[in-house]
């Protein structure tokens, strides 16, 4: 009986440890976005090179909307090559669109000149209306829309190759089905 008191330690430490441990891997700011599973917002904007771009042109195949800004260092710099590689790899099936978030087009162009322009279009969301429609809280934030125009996944914070592949699967599967 005298040794039972040692049980106190695991009784206190284990539940607390498990509870606090369970919080890892989740980002509490990644609030379940109400937009998931719903039709993507419709829009029509001008791109950096002055062309018109909108949901009309994108409809019918999966697309990715990436909100970014030239001042978003280092997160947007970090994910830039990931997106470029994605454009290279998935470009035939998926359209990638960059959307400037509270940024000056000139600054965005010098960002692209510096870190490489992969060739996908960047829309200028001058009044931030599209960011509001998507419920963007801060760049980088990326939304994955399937061929039916339904938002399937969202990435809060910079994409990595693994994260991108995971999110991409959610819109590609639907396309293949």
């Amino acid at each position: 009986m005298r040794h039972l008191r040692w049980l106190l330690i695991p009784l206190v430490v284990l539940p607390l440890g498990l509870l606090l441990l369970s919080g890892f891997g989740r980002d509490p700011r990644e609030i379940a976005s109400p937009i998931l599973g719903r039709p993507a917002p419709e829009w029509s904007l001008t791109t950096l090179d002055g062309k018109a771009l909108g949901t009309d042109a994108l409809a019918g195949r999966p697309y990715v909307v990436n909100f970014w800004a030239s001042w978003c260092i280092p997160a947007c710099v970090d994910e830039h090559p990931v997106l470029a590689a994605a454009h290279e790899r998935y470009g035939d099936e998926v359209t990638i669109v960059g959307v400037l978030y509270q940024d000056d087009p000139g600054a965005a162009e010098s960002f692209l000149a510096r870190y490489g322009n992969a060739g996908y279009a960047h829309a200028v969301d001058e009044r931030g209306a599209l960011a509001i429609d998507y419920g963007v809280t801060g760049p980088p934030e990326t939304f994955f829309v399937d061929a039916d125009g339904i938002v399937r996944a969202k990435q809060f914070g910079p994409l990595t190759d693994a994260l991108l592949a995971d999110r991409m699967a959610s819109i590609l599967n639907v396309a293949e089905r």
Binding site: R5, W6, L8, I9, V12, V13, L16, G17, L18, L19, L20, L21, S22, G23, F24, R26, D27, P28, R29, I31, A32, W71, C72, I73, P74, Q102, R114, A131, V136, T137, G138
Partner: protein
């Protein structure tokens, strides 16, 4: 160059701290004074290393050295120098560097002060403190290097968190809070040392009580400064939201306060030694839990730093500290039981015990409410949040009971109270309290919380005044002094008791202010065009003009500003604005607060319409809020008075040769 020096200083600090741990443990085993002295010097060296690191970081921030990732993420070329300097603690890595500075600072001061005393305890105290510091240096070395470099180097940084550059209190609140947090490692270290060496005696209690009170003062002021900051900056009209991180600061405060009280019983009457050491361990562990909650990204709050690799380190540290210290406690348990002298049901001991039960009740309630969302998510996957109403409902009765106890506890005698004593001390105050409640009812006050708090506050205040008058008049009669001199001398001869009273007065002032400001506040949301007016309480607000322009201090920030005039109990003009920061998705409100002793007029701009120039305002009249801050200052003064070193008895005796030493009442406040 500067970042290299900063990084090198962290590595040097890590080395010195590692050496200190080894030296102290060897010194404890071999009773080797010279090893202990070298351990002490290593700790002081680690403080210097942390200081060099902090200076290097501040220089990097001030010179906008964007090759340092931390600077690129938290600074911009347009950031004012003051904001740059305090950005040292604006984000994760920098705050850990600053934290390490304070932790090594505490360790150095404690080890230096007690260098010639407590030869058995001190090596273990040193070893424990060095272990804690080692953890922070290790985190900075392997998980969150504040001097991590970035390439390519950008010409411009993101700039500091928008919320953090809005108010000078950002310079005050985190350092105070961190001083409190880091200082709680000191009583913990003494607790560990006492358990290891089996020296959990009155001497230990005396040292630990003082070393708990010092960080307790900082923690108290830090929490109050945080409430004040949130009131002045966040723009929702309140000062306490039961945000997880506010709770994280409150939790160790609750257990530390419980300890300060139970230590008095333990010191005076013996016993409670398990309890006292458990509270010391709990307090330190809760400071780590608080840090973990803020820095791991586990909970969301206005304070949470970005998700980082630091979380697992903190979790490991919490579990390790808890396992080892509980292990020590359980190991020593058989020798700790018993020892207290028995006492009656109606006695100061009982009041202290009940006080501790209530404080622990609060601790559990707050901890439960804070961790429940985590528990629910872990078990069912749902997301819930425990809001302020829940915390208010659960905690308000406990606070009221504590307030009541605060009045009667100190007036109860040790051992056993007689009915005659009770009648003498409590009859008049009880009647006064009842009269105030009746008067409130007659005047139309219907809020139960306000009435109960007012009644109890008057009761408690009257009891305290009675206590002071009894003590002072006894002294004035015996020594032929006038009343003021007698009171002052009595207080300075019994600093702990009268400092404690002063703290209680501060708490009383805060309690009344909290009850009334939350119970009797009025607010309204209005939309008015230029030249139109709106009414709130006795105030009339007039919309003069709407201005949209870049901020003079930082042109990247666009300010939408409503310029208003107001008439009523206070008259004047005010500006309240929404600021758009390039790195913040939402506009940051800058509420305008006009403070008077009676009430605050609090105005926040919610929205504006550029076409009509109309503004939507949230107007508040918050009564007595300023008294919360005044009460906080009184608490700070009282607790500082309590721990101020007593003047030497010799000097007193020389100044008053007629005084007989045996008369001096040794009151254990």
């Amino acid at each position: 160059m500067i970042p290299t020096i900063g990084h090198a200083s962290i590595v040097i600090g890590l080395g010195l701290t590692t050496y200190a741990v080894v030296a102290f443990v060897l010194a404890a085993g071999g009773r080797d004074e010279r090893l202990a002295a070298s351990g002490r010097r290593a700790v002081i060296g680690s403080f210097v290393a942390a200081l060099v690191g902090c200076v290097a970081m501040v220089i990097s921030l001030l010179t906008h050295d964007f090759s340092v990732l931390y600077v690129a993420e938290n600074n911009a070329t347009t950031t004012p120098a003051f904001i740059s300097a305090i950005s040292l603690w604006a984000a994760l890595e920098g705050s850990i560097l600053f934290w390490t500075l304070l932790a090594t600072g505490w360790a150095s001061v404690v080890l230096h002060r007690h260098r010639a005393r407590h030869r058995l305890l001190m090596p273990w105290v040193g070893a424990t403190l060095a272990c804690v510091n080692l953890f922070f240096f290790a985190v900075m070395t392997w998980a969150g290097n504040p001097f991590a470099l970035t390439a390519p180097v950008g010409a411009e940084g993101i700039g500091p968190n928008a919320l953090l550059q809005n108010h000078p209190f950002m310079a005050l609140h985190p350092p105070l809070l961190y001083l409190g947090y880091t200082g709680m490692a000191v009583p913990f270290a003494f607790g560990v040392a006492a358990l290891v060496t089996k020296r959990l005696d009155e001497e230990w209690l005396r040292i630990v009580r003082r070393w708990t009170l010092v960080p307790w003062i900082f923690l108290t002021l830090g929490i109050i400064a945080g409430a004040w900051w949130s009131y002045e900056v966040l723009g929702w009209g309140g000062y306490w939201a039961w945000d997880p991180v506010e709770n994280a600061a409150l939790l160790p405060w609750l257990t530390a306060t419980a300890f300060v009280h139970s230590a008095m019983v333990a010191e005076r009457r013996g016993g409670l030694r398990i309890w006292a050491s458990a509270l010391v361990i709990a307090t330190f562990t809760l400071t780590l839990v608080g840090t973990f909650l803020t820095r791991s990204g586990v909970v969301i709050s206005v304070h949470s730093f970005t998700q980082s690799a630091i979380g697992p380190w903190f979790l490991g540290a919490i579990l390790l500290a808890l396992t080892l210290s509980l292990g020590l406690l359980v190991w020593r348990l058989p020798g700790l039981i018993g020892g207290g002298r028995p006492s009656g049901l109606l006695s100061r001991e009982s009041a202290f015990l009940l006080n501790n039960v209530l404080f622990l009740g609060l601790t559990f309630a707050v901890l439960f409410g804070t961790l429940l969302p985590l528990l629910v998510t872990a078990t069912s996957g749902d997301t819930i949040s425990v809001g302020a109403p829940w915390f208010n409902t659960v905690n308000a009765p406990i606070f009221v009971a504590l307030l009541f106890l605060m009045g009667i506890g100190p007036a109860l005698p040790w051992g056993q109270a007689s009915w005659a004593t009770l009648r003498d001390r409590f009859a008049v105050p009880s009647i006064l309290g009842a009269v105030v409640v009746a008067a409130g009812l007659a005047l139309g006050l219907r809020s139960a919380a306000v009435l109960v708090t007012l009644g109890i506050a008057v009761l408690v205040g009257a009891i305290m005044i009675g206590e002071v008058i009894r003590g002072a008049s006894a002294r004035a009669r015996g020594r032929d002094e006038d009343a003021l001199t007698a009171t002052w001398r009595l207080a300075t001869r019994n600093r702990r008791r009268y400092g404690g009273y002063t703290v209680h007065v501060g708490v009383l002032v805060m309690a009344i202010a909290v009850a009334i400001s939350s119970g009797l506040a009025t607010d309204a949301t209005v939309t008015i065009g230029p030249g139109e007016t709106a009414r709130i309480g006795a105030y009339e607000i007039r919309h003069e003009r709407l201005v949209v322009e870049p901020l003079a201090a930082d042109a990247r920030v666009i300010e939408t500003r409503a310029e208003l005039t107001y008439t009523g109990p206070q008259t004047g003009s005010l500006r309240t604005a929404l600021r758009d920061y390039p790195n913040s998705p939402t506009a940051i409100a800058t509420p305008a607060v006009r403070t008077s002793f009676g009430e605050d007029l609090y105005v926040t701009l919610l929205a504006s319409d550029p076409s009509t120039q109309a503004v939507t305002l949230h107007l508040f009249v918050n009564p007595l809020v300023v008294w919360i801050w005044i009460g906080g200052v009184i608490v700070g003064i009282g607790s500082t008075f309590a721990i101020w070193p007593e003047r030497r008895r010799v000097a007193v005796a020389a100044a008053q040769p007629q005084r007989a030493p045996s008369v001096s009442p040794v009151e254990g406040a």
